[in-house]
Symmetry: none
Subunit: 238 residues, 4 copies
Amino acid sequence: MAAAAIPAKASGVKATRNPEASRARILEAARIEFVTQGLNGARVDRIAEQSGVNKNLIYHYFGSKDGLYLEVLERIYSGLRKSQKDDDVRGLPPLEGMRQLVGNTFDHFVATPDLIRLMSIENIHYAQHLKGSTTIKPLYGGLLDTLRTLLRRGQADGVFRAEVDEVDLYLSISGLAYFFLSNQHTLSWLLDRDFVAAKRVAGRRRHVVEMVLSYLTHIPPEEAGGAKTEVIKSEDGQ
Amino acid sequence: MAAAAIPAKASGVKATRNPEASRARILEAARIEFVTQGLNGARVDRIAEQSGVNKNLIYHYFGSKDGLYLEVLERIYSGLRKSQKDDDVRGLPPLEGMRQLVGNTFDHFVATPDLIRLMSIENIHYAQHLKGSTTIKPLYGGLLDTLRTLLRRGQADGVFRAEVDEVDLYLSISGLAYFFLSNQHTLSWLLDRDFVAAKRVAGRRRHVVEMVLSYLTHIPPEEAGGAKTEVIKSEDGQ
Amino acid sequence: MAAAAIPAKASGVKATRNPEASRARILEAARIEFVTQGLNGARVDRIAEQSGVNKNLIYHYFGSKDGLYLEVLERIYSGLRKSQKDDDVRGLPPLEGMRQLVGNTFDHFVATPDLIRLMSIENIHYAQHLKGSTTIKPLYGGLLDTLRTLLRRGQADGVFRAEVDEVDLYLSISGLAYFFLSNQHTLSWLLDRDFVAAKRVAGRRRHVVEMVLSYLTHIPPEEAGGAKTEVIKSEDGQ
Amino acid sequence: MAAAAIPAKASGVKATRNPEASRARILEAARIEFVTQGLNGARVDRIAEQSGVNKNLIYHYFGSKDGLYLEVLERIYSGLRKSQKDDDVRGLPPLEGMRQLVGNTFDHFVATPDLIRLMSIENIHYAQHLKGSTTIKPLYGGLLDTLRTLLRRGQADGVFRAEVDEVDLYLSISGLAYFFLSNQHTLSWLLDRDFVAAKRVAGRRRHVVEMVLSYLTHIPPEEAGGAKTEVIKSEDGQ
DNA sequence: AATGAATGAGGTTTCATTCAT
DNA sequence: TATGAATGAAACCTCATTCAT
């Protein structure tokens, strides 16, 4: 999939004297290298070799290894937000909209393992590169808005429970889809199960969607003025 | 915190000629270094300097940087499983037992940020060190058992829904507690929120417990022979 | 001698930006270092310093200390076989051809003390590097052939004795010329004699040639159907 | 063979508090280590481990790695001279005495591969340790004497040729027996032959004895006032 | 726009040796 | 006599980066 994305080579000619193509080749090789090796494990030499360009060209275009990494990161993040298709679901009935939003997020995580790994890598590095980016943060502007919109409409309809924090909800949707992928290598070893087999993924998708919707559509007793409230409050002490 | 754990002879005396203490000092410094810098970013020099021992002593005791990393990893994992206190919750009423299990897991993740980071680091490295460990995997033997036991008892009581896969459940419990911590640096920047403030954490704990229990206690219509089944099945195509 | 061989651009200018020259300078410095210090005693740092190049360039060109050593070894061996000039002596009258072959071998050993030392070094290391070379062994293809040819022709002429094993002959020619050079440092100390003084060397050359030819031209009594055979056979028991 | 020489252990008890035994164990382990690994390749740690003593004891007894090496060297050399049994052959008929001397030397070299390797190692190091020894050189006092005695008696008898330099003769006897052993690893690879197979060794022994005796008993024409002298002199120019 | 050559700083690891008991 | 703990110097090698064209 990755290699297929490389243009040039069409004529078999090495993409010399074609700045666009060289840049693209570098970015593609860099993506693979950073994703598979991590930031500290990635080697500029390998990126140069894999992209078929001179090592110095990398510095010419991207300034430094970190600069190259940041551009890779920005491209990956930009892809994530595009695929979440917020606008498409805003207008749907709340339950269906939420179902699709959860499903979309799940599907995108499954489809782009690179994203999962780069997110982990970036957090290992305390997000210091992300914080130096000017292009990524704006992408997240509308995200919570969409969630909030769906939530409110669902609450107004009496379909969703009240008092749902949209950040918490986002964290849960993402966490349910993220963890089993990000930690698949340790988990599959410890639990003796292959998580990325197609059938398993389909099952997990159902489970995740169901869990989120169960939570949203469950109207707790106390909201109807009922009892049992003390049980839930009792754990605050922890 | 770290330095305080070292049983130095008396006051602030450097623990020379005390192999136990030297080993402990190295491990403590290594833990901090690996956790904060990652495996590739960690520097043996820094570990030696921070632990106050000669660099060679590290190789004498642990063989290599990787050997030291593995021992750090094993200790952290061993701590995780100890704190999950499976046995304590097995005998509780299913709902309460599950509530405590979820809470315990959440609390332990919050209490040991090292664990979160090392798990991420290890997955970035495809769990290749973990797979070389003989001590970690056995720790996970009873985990799914506990979950299964609670589930079955709850299902027998009619409190929990049927057809819950215990691995899926484990992944969800862990994912809900893990993601907001593991990815806190990118998320807090992108969402403008501090996730680890005490109040936020308490709120998230409630949310996570509530989500899991909502899922478990929600008896889907079809289990009562109802409709709406087609809606859930409709997303398989995605 | 060494420095003079470097084709530096003009006068004493450091041959930067000239990979051929850099490679040659490294090899020359490496040869001296390995020959004088042995494989384990050689220091890459010294080679870098002596050749005037950056240490890393050595790894860039030769991969490792062992790789550099192997290339030095290959070059030295290649020089040996070239100077043995097999073909030149094949057509000569057997006695004269053999005399020249012995002399050539002796002269080359005397002329290239490096070869003697590297052979010793390589044998101390059980020839493990040599066995990893693809270029050295082929050089030895024609060697025994030449010996065999001369031997047969001499035997046909009745000049040489029968039943001479060409490998034994090769070992003796080489051993007579090799040992007093390879072990000159212990021997000159123990026997109070300087073996490499020009006059001594000339004398030894005569002695070696004479010994080999004496052996070859001596027709043992038994070959003429005579007695004394039992004396020679008597030592088999040893 | 080596391990069998270690005393102690008779009672199964580790040889603590027995300085003689400890010293012997160290020397035995050191011999093996130096012989197989060379001087620079030898590891004090391995010697300590193999001899079962504390590393510090080595320094206590021998002062340094070099000191230990020197003692190993002295013991090996002392063994060589003992076995050459000069005196036994002095009284024999010249031809038989010489035959035995050559055979003894050959046999001893074959029997003590350690000696061969240590000689090579010591020469790689320019005999600098040997020159620091006070015990080895005296061992060589009588060596040339024996040769000279046999030679003169043989010459007086008319059995040996005149004008034989005893040092040259010694170098040749040793070289013929030494080279094929010292360089066996490179040679067996290059010539595709196993030199140390028992049958090969017996054949080479015959060859070596025969070559030396052929030389000694060959009375060149010029000694009888003959011609051909110019041929031999002609190679001086080389 | 692009390249091949070269570098300096620093990485992990090794090893002979000494310390303190 | 003997030991286990610890060390300092230096070894081989790596890697992001820059130079000169």
